[in-house]
């Protein structure tokens, strides 16, 4: 996967190990736990958007599926957390397959709308509670804690190590995928679908597979959410969350997995910080987002990396201006 990535992984591990000792307070670790949980979804979304060139405004729906199925199975049907998590993931994969098959034929804003519709349908179903399981808008609580190899995750520190270990494993796997035949195929879809097809890339299948992968990661993050918070209701899984996920991926730089992680960490920490400003928080959220996108149109991480020279030749054209692609398509 290349020296840069190995170096990146090594640095990440070092940082992750050092940070708990620098931050004397479990609260900060708690924020980092959120970074990790969101990071899981965002990595999958980055693969789907930045590499595969698709868009999803419905990933909150997969998180909701993970959280609700984990929660319902453990609290109402006596499952232990891990099997419940597995069932949640399988169910999410199934849903992603059924939803993805027809929707992934759609393009651009139409795909955005269809995925958005999917997310909202899950949200509405959770609130409407058709089977008397979700607790309606009030949700339900009492979801048991997760335990790993006999260790109950009952503190921020334990969650921190656990979530980030999972993130690291997923990151390595995804980096492997990205720097392989599959990753090239995905990027070729982003680069130009007709040409990708002509080279023998089964674009429809790759799009579906990536969608499934990102849905599984969303479901995983959702299950973690349920066990971490212990309470689930529909409110956190609305459209706002989908948009927030999208923002984190794009702000970091969607054409790079590292960007997704960086964007997630940055925005999770910043939005926490901006709450200090109370009434001005919303304003600053918007302000920072606009400024970042103006200064680093291809995302903070990718943009910064390019400016440092590391990615110059490789990434020069990842942010192909909308105009250029439009002209190419319009003139042809």
């Amino acid at each position: 996967m290349g020296k840069k990535n190995l170096f990146g992984l090594a640095s990440l591990v070092v940082v992750l190990l050092v940070v708990p000792h620098l931050l004397g307070n479990p609260y900060y670790l708690g924020v980092l736990v959120w970074c990790g949980i969101y990071g899981l979804v965002c990595m999958g979304l980055s693969l789907f958007m930045g590499y595969c060139g698709q868009i999803s405004l419905g990933h909150a729906g997969f998180c909701a599926l993970g959280a609700y199925i984990s929660g319902i199975l453990t609290t109402r049907f006596g499952f232990s957390p891990w099997p419940a998590l597995g069932v949640a993931m399988l169910a999410s994969l199934l849903v992603a397959f059924v939803v993805g098959l027809p929707t992934l034929r759609l393009k651009g804003h139409y795909l955005a709308m269809a995925t958005l519709g999917f997310g909202m349908i899950i949200f509405v179903a959770a609130g409407g509670d058709p089977f008397g399981l979700t607790g309606g808008p009030s949700g339900f609580w009492g979801i048991p804690k997760l335990s790993v190899f006999g260790v109950v995750l009952d503190s921020e520190v334990k969650w921190y190590y656990f979530v980030w270990a999972v993130v690291l494993v997923c990151l390595v796997a995804l980096l492997n995928i990205v720097h392989s035949r599959v990753g090239r195929a995905l990027r070729s879809i982003h680069g130009g679908e007709p040409a990708a097809k002509a080279m023998g890339v089964h674009t429809a299948r790759y799009k579906t597979q990536t969608f499934l992968l990102s849905a599984a990661l969303g479901s995983l993050a959702g299950s973690f959410y349920a066990h971490y918070v212990g309470f689930v209701n529909p409110h956190p899984f609305g459209l706002n969350f989908s948009i927030h996920l999208l923002t984190m991926v794009v702000v970091g730089g969607m054409t790079n997995l590292w960007g997704a992680i960086a964007g997630t960490a940055l925005l999770t920490i910043l939005t926490r910080y901006f709450r200090v400003f109370m009434d001005w928080g919303v304003f600053f959220d918007g302000f920072i987002l606009v400024i970042i996108m103006l200064v680093f149109p291809e995302g903070l991480f990718v943009g910064a990396a390019r400016r440092l020279g590391g990615f110059v030749s490789r990434k020069r054209s990842t942010g192909v201006p909308g105009q250029a692609s439009r002209q190419a398509a319009g003139g042809g």
């Binding site: 509405v124 794009v250 606009v290 291809e298």
Partner: protein, 297 residues
């Protein structure tokens, strides 16, 4: 179901659908010149309502209306110059992110200016409901429908018969060719923001008397308007109207479905229909397939 009940639902659907249609029209205008969905469109609706509420305290409604529309159009222009224009060479997704940021900015600013309460606005004419074949209809509903019709007619005339309108359509059809034939694409984008902000404001002003306006109400309009624009076919004005009315009617008749708790599912119901429809016809009711291919993220 009795006729009067059906009529009652239909009027509710048309009322709210007309607003969605106007928001969708705004989406389309910007989409045509830039290829992006301006997610701050809902905030233009909110600002229209807010400005009018404030202005109506100082002057007659007839005067407050145009001033508010103008004010919001100016906000639209400022937004375009400050945030969209500097990023005009960025990818579609970057621009959409900027509009999301813009919507937060406008929302936050509105919260500072007007606070967090909801404000009412008096109806344009009498508040007394009219009985039509057994259905009670507020007179404001006719204002809403009428304003939508007028906006639609004026827009059609503008795009069809004025030089500027034709130039904007040229940008939509082929940007490169439009530039070559001497059209200032930059100016057209600016104009499209002014126009769509103005239309958004009009929607906000006519709906406020039947609902209320608060700083956070824009996102809902943006969502429904986006759904309407996509359902109708992005970039097609007639599609916006068809899409808006369809979604409005689906929501109202969805809520009226004869089972327990139907109203909890009405939004989901409308979106489900939209979802299924898109899977069957990927470019919306009146959209052309070719256009949907152009935008890459």
């Amino acid at each position: 179901m009795e006729l009067s009940t059906i009529l009652q639902y239909a009027f509710a659907g048309i009322k709210i659908g007309s607003i969605y249609a106007m928001v969708a029209l705004g989406f389309n205008i910007i989409y045509n010149t830039t290829g992006i969905i301006n997610l701050a469109q809902g905030e233009f609706v909110m600002l229209g309502g807010m400005f009018t509420v404030t202005l109506a305290k100082l002057m007659p409604l007839g005067l407050a209306f145009p001033i508010a529309v103008l004010a919001v159009a100016i906000v639209g222009c400022l937004f375009e110059r400050a945030a969209i224009w500097p990023a005009r060479r960025s990818s579609v997704i970057t621009l959409i992110m900027i509009t999301i940021g813009g919507s937060f900015l406008l929302k936050g600013a509105a919260m500072q200016v007007w606070g967090k309460n909801s404000f009412p606005l008096r109806p344009f004419s009498s508040e007394k409901p009219i009985n039509i074949l057994g259905a009670w209809v507020q007179p404001q509903v006719f204002w809403i429908i009428g304003v939508l019709a007028v906006v639609m007619i004026l827009l059609t005339l503008f795009f069809r018969f004025t030089l500027t309108g034709k130039a904007m359509r040229a940008c939509a059809a082929n940007r490169a060719a439009a530039t070559l034939s001497g059209i200032s694409v930059d100016r057209m984008v600016l104009l499209s923001f002014a126009l769509s902000a103005g239309i958004g404001a009009i929607a906000g002003i006519v709906i406020t008397p039947v609902t209320l306006v608060d700083y956070g109400c824009g996102s809902m309009y943006a969502l429904k308007g986006f759904a309407a624009a996509v359902l109708g076919g992005l970039g097609v004005s007639a599609g916006a109207v068809v899409g808006g009315l369809t979604i409005g009617l689906m929501e109202c008749f969805g809520a009226a479905l004869p089972f327990q708790g139907a109203s909890s599912y009405k939004d989901g119901f409308a979106l489900l229909i939209l979802f299924v429809f898109l899977c069957a016809k990927p470019s919306g009711i009146l959209g052309r397939a070719a256009i949907s291919e152009l935008k890459k993220f």
